[in-house]
Symmetry: D3
Subunit: 162 residues, 6 copies
């Protein structure tokens, strides 16, 4: 049985992220989506975890659990018994940063493999940072994010604009 | 149970290829290494299959089988019940070609996922084409290929030089 | 009035190429699609021109004409009064080769501008060489090429297989 | 008649930007340079607009107007009747970010085309951020920016150093 | 006699940096490692210079001196009589930024050549920013940095956590 | 004293190649330009050597000698006592291939360093293959190659066209 961890900031989770979650769920026995604690996110860890949990539930993915971690991703992977770190690739630029990080992770935890899965082409240009940018300009992004996230973005920026 | 196929020309198989085979074998239940038929290889399909088989046996990998296929890789994957296509990444350049091919494979067989694994850094610059080039210049490449392959390369180019 | 030339080998024309033709036709007054003579193509210049002409007619593009040229593209552009060379971009790798060629074209004809347009994402992984490869393996590619081209590919490879 | 918009931060405008403005002016009927409002620029929107206006006047470009916008670029394009978004490419790295942004813009406004033009090679390494960096170190950058901008940079950093 | 300058922030110096220092020392008569003053570093200029000096002494490199500079690197190079600027390359992404900077440096000081050396593959994924990130998460990084630097990182983040 | 070798096919030598030769000559005590034997070049080894020799003489470079080699470049470097392999970079794409080759060379000869120098921007798009292509189309390329090479290209293709 292979447990895969999909780590990320998910600030907020997008349809592109969920596309990767679904793909991972189809080829690994169990998938742990783990939201990384961070001091510089738009949404709190609790909010980010909740958005992913809601989206996983909405997609009816049975072998996916959602959690969060502070500290090193490889330590979190060990805790969950994960032997695979899943990363989504949106485009060629992504890869170099991912390559560096994966090599460092391998140095720290040689028994954990990094596996890169490809987002569907229709999600190629959807990133969390673009979602935040568009929402900050008042743009509805409900086409690009799971239900509820668009409203949360709107509320967040409405508050900020006050 | 997840069956992964690792397709390639393996002309000839290198330590870098075998590194990927080992990694795939550690995270998938079963791995099918499939040598692609091709009219323009240095070694025949039979030779290329044999080199991989010998290397898999030498590495003691129990859940790996070696075969060959003509035609579309996704058709071969279907035949073997594989739901994952494994590809090794050596460096950033590899990725764009892989990305294109993986997207086309997804179009033709949406239920098969492409997963990219990273070669160990010490194999970063080892490619089959470089092995052929070095061997053609009379260079011993036994540091970079499984046992027997260096001798086969030497014999091949000795014949040619006659 | 701006005349744009879209040069290429179109061996054979794909839906990706036609996507670029349509985009160019929408922003330039007149578009000249010019098929480059070449000794190493699968289809003859006459066949390649005919495929593009049929596709342009099928798409109902009024301000597009189709021709062919030997020699330098910038010389062909001059002959047609084109001041823009249109190039389609499928992905990041395309760009470097295009960049080099465009800089050389600018050196030879500074008054002609190169403009790069982006293919629709659904055509991102469709290239003429992939079409030839798939067709040579017996794969139907009618989803990716204009009407008639799939049949021509099939006939071409059937002949070859005899 | 094709109206092209060239959006950007222009903080400050460089000779590289103006090179693109001139190229766009030569192949489109009308060009609208639109300075994007932003809270994190060195120069105010008013200053950035004025620098571009002065440079356009100095270059004698008749079919170019200069304006500014807040919010989405595609909304600004609609307001001006622009059907083309012009972007300048300085080097290969530029392209990936541009590609993402252009795909998102296309999603939001399919009838607007993004066209990428290439900067002259002598402007390849000139960016607004490099200009700010060099000026902050006391370096004269008058070779790289339109008349007046070097003085404005000098004044800005002299003030800051007080 | 060729004097080479190796400029950088070295915040803090890593084994990857020292690998480049050693390579430069082997092919140039004299090497000046120059730490760039900067307001946004984790370690002060004095600390960063000391770390490099200690590492150079520890490596027994006789033809290497360590200094620091504010302002333009090319001005610092002139002061030291350096005619070569050495830069280390870790991976493909590095290169584009380096290319831009090197072209600007050449514009400002045509008589100074930029030479790019490659880090050993085992240091491919070691960057100062990754070291700071890992240390901030409490990770020991003594495998990746010269003696003493790990302790300094630990002390720095212990202080911060108070 | 540092001897640098600049290996290449030089089929034929271009102004871009000579730009690198000049830069290498300015920072290394002695430069050996070594033309690689190859069965698939347009010009013979003798012709390619002669073109480089003439260009070096024409440029008045005193510390540059021109030779040729078959087999491994690192073996040729050893023979000449070279401890540096110089490579010219024209653009970002060049680098990945160079990176692979340099890593393999380092594996085979760890005491030889690869140093990458940058071509002048005006030679960015000049490659030997582009010269052959343009000449085959009847284009004068005397702006891009040393004296005599344009004539040799013209003669070569005139012969071929007979």
């Amino acid at each position: 049985m292979t447990i895969a961890m999909y780590p990320g900031r998910f600030d907020p989770v997008t349809n592109g992220h969920m596309d990767i979650v679904g793909r991972a769920a189809s080829i690994y026995d169990s998938v742990v989506v783990s939201v990384v604690h961070s001091g510089s996110t738009l949404f709190s860890t609790e909010e980010r975890v909740r958005f992913v949990k809601d989206a996983v539930a909405g997609a009816g993915l049975k072998n996916v659990q959602v959690t969060s971690h502070a500290g090193l991703t490889v330590d979190a992977a060990h805790q969950h018994g994960a032997t695979v770190l899943v990363r989504g690739l949106r485009a060629i630029t992504d890869f170099t940063v991912e390559f560096d990080m994966a090599l460092m992770n391998r140095n720290m935890a040689p028994e954990i493999e990094s596996a890169f899965l490809m987002t569907a082409v229709e999600y190629l240009y959807i990133s969390a940072s673009r979602m935040r940018e568009l929402a900050s300009l008042g743009r509805d992004v409900s086409d690009f994010v799971p239900p509820g996230v668009n409203e949360a973005l709107r509320a967040k920026f409405a508050t900020r604009a006050d």
